[in-house]
């Protein structure tokens, strides 16, 4: 508040001066017109100086002076300012502060990114562009994720189908005799010293074993019994799948071993037949923990049968 005084001292000077300043500024070319108001200046100033007198007695002396040689006075004061004094020191400190802060501010302003001083319309445009970019990229992300999902699910499907197919191949391979197999089962050894066994006996034996749940069967370790296996009499001996066999006949079957043994042993079954008077041989049934069937059936290309489209698939 204390600065009101100097401000007042200064402000009274303002009214006349701005008017003058506006006049010369607006029409600097009219030099003659400018001078008369300057002459009026001193007239206006003395009252101001009087108003400010209590504070600064100095104004009195300057005000009359300007009439004749004001430039000299101002310049002289400037020159006088070069003499060190308390006021000079204070001004120096304040000026240093201002300069320092101004430089710092300039630096901060330069360090700012361009957005701080951008106009509102520009900012809106930039924001708009960014928003559009975001939307575009988000839709792209969604699209790519959908594609990824569909690809991975189809890959899963393919994987599952492949696993199922492989499992089926294994199952069917055992069933068709194209793959070796092992598991619990029985080994039935039939001795037929008199050569009276017929293909019917052997076929019956196979049928009984299958009825008891045999999953894989081989005879004499060399012939795999499959759906198309045939049994033909070839005295002495039996021809199985075109391969001649003679006593002893060894039938190996994989399945529930106890059931299989029972199927061979039941009265009137395989063992009774072989040991009976018609054949007069011996039969031995062994339940084994592990029977390994290594004989393979070579599948032949079907000449007539073709797979028909299944209605379920």
């Amino acid at each position: 508040m204390s600065d009101e005084k100097p401000d007042k001292a200064a402000t009274p000077v303002d009214p006349p001066e701005p008017v003058e300043a506006a006049q010369p500024d607006a029409s600097q070319a009219e030099a003659p017109q400018v001078e008369p108001p300057q002459v009026e200046e001193p007239q206006a100033e003395p009252p101001q100086a009087e108003a400010a007198q209590p504070e600064a007695p100095q104004p009195e002396s300057p005000t009359p002076m300007p009439k004749q040689r004001t430039p000299n006075l101002a310049l002289r004061r400037l020159k006088a300012g070069f003499k060190p004094s308390r006021g000079q020191a204070i001004v120096a400190v304040v000026l240093a502060l201002v300069a320092c802060v101004a430089v710092v501010q300039v630096r901060v302003n330069r360090a700012d990114d361009g957005y701080q001083n951008a106009r509102r319309e520009d900012l809106i445009a930039i924001l708009d562009g960014l928003g559009q970019n975001t939307r575009r990229l988000e839709s792209e992300i969604t699209e790519l994720e959908e594609r990824k999902n569909s690809l991975s699910s189809s890959a899963d499907k393919a994987q599952t189908a492949r696993q199922q197919a492989e499992a089926q191949v294994r199952t069917l391979g055992i069933l068709a005799g194209t793959l070796p197999a092992q598991g619990p089962g029985v080994r039935i050894t039939l001795n037929d010293p008199e050569g009276k066994m017929t293909s019917g006996n052997l076929l019956d034996a196979i049928e009984e074993l299958r009825d008891a749940g045999a999953e894989a069967i081989q005879i004499n370790g060399s012939v795999r019994v499959v759906a198309s296996t045939d049994f033909v009499d070839a005295n002495p001996g039996i021809r199985v799948d075109g391969q001649k066999m003679t006593s002893p006949y060894v039938i190996e079957a994989i399945g529930e071993s106890h059931n299989l043994a029972e199927a061979a042993n039941f009265p009137g079954g395989l063992v009774s037949e072989v040991t009976g008077p018609q054949v007069g041989g011996t039969a031995e049934v062994n339940e084994l923990g592990t029977v390994s069937i290594t004989a393979l059936h070579a599948p032949e290309e079907h000449r007539y049968a073709r797979p028909a489209p299944s209605p379920t698939k």
């Binding site: 600065d3 400037l78 300012g81 304040v94 502060l97």
Partner: protein
């Protein structure tokens, strides 16, 4: 002479030290600088008028800076910060021009 020296020293310090402006002071610093410039030019004019007083100068300098910052702060709180800072800058700019006109007339008699 000392004043000019102080100006130079201030610039050098600002360039060399380059202190970081704290976050809370950032909106007020530019306005404060303009207000300080106004005070400095007012002082120069008073000096040429022969009514310069260092105590008055310091007080007016400080009050100028504080009031400018206060106005901007108030404007920020009221939600019209940018408009008020523009207004303050305009007013201070007018004052600086007025002072400069007086100084010019003193020195060049024109």
């Amino acid at each position: 002479m000392i004043a000019v020296l102080g100006l130079v020293i201030g610039v050098v310090i600002g360039l060399l030290v380059a202190p970081d402006v704290p976050e809370w002071a950032q909106p007020y610093l530019p306005i404060a600088v303009v207000a300080a410039l106004d005070a400095v030019f007012g002082a120069l004019r008073a000096f040429l008028d022969g009514i310069f007083d260092d105590k008055v100068f310091v007080v007016s300098f400080i009050s100028n800076v504080l009031i400018a910052a206060l106005i901007v702060y108030l404007g920020d709180q009221l939600g019209v910060g940018s408009q008020l800072s523009t207004g303050v800058v305009v007013v201070l700019g007018i004052r600086i021009f007025t002072n400069m006109a007086a100084i010019r007339r003193h020195i060049f008699r024109a």
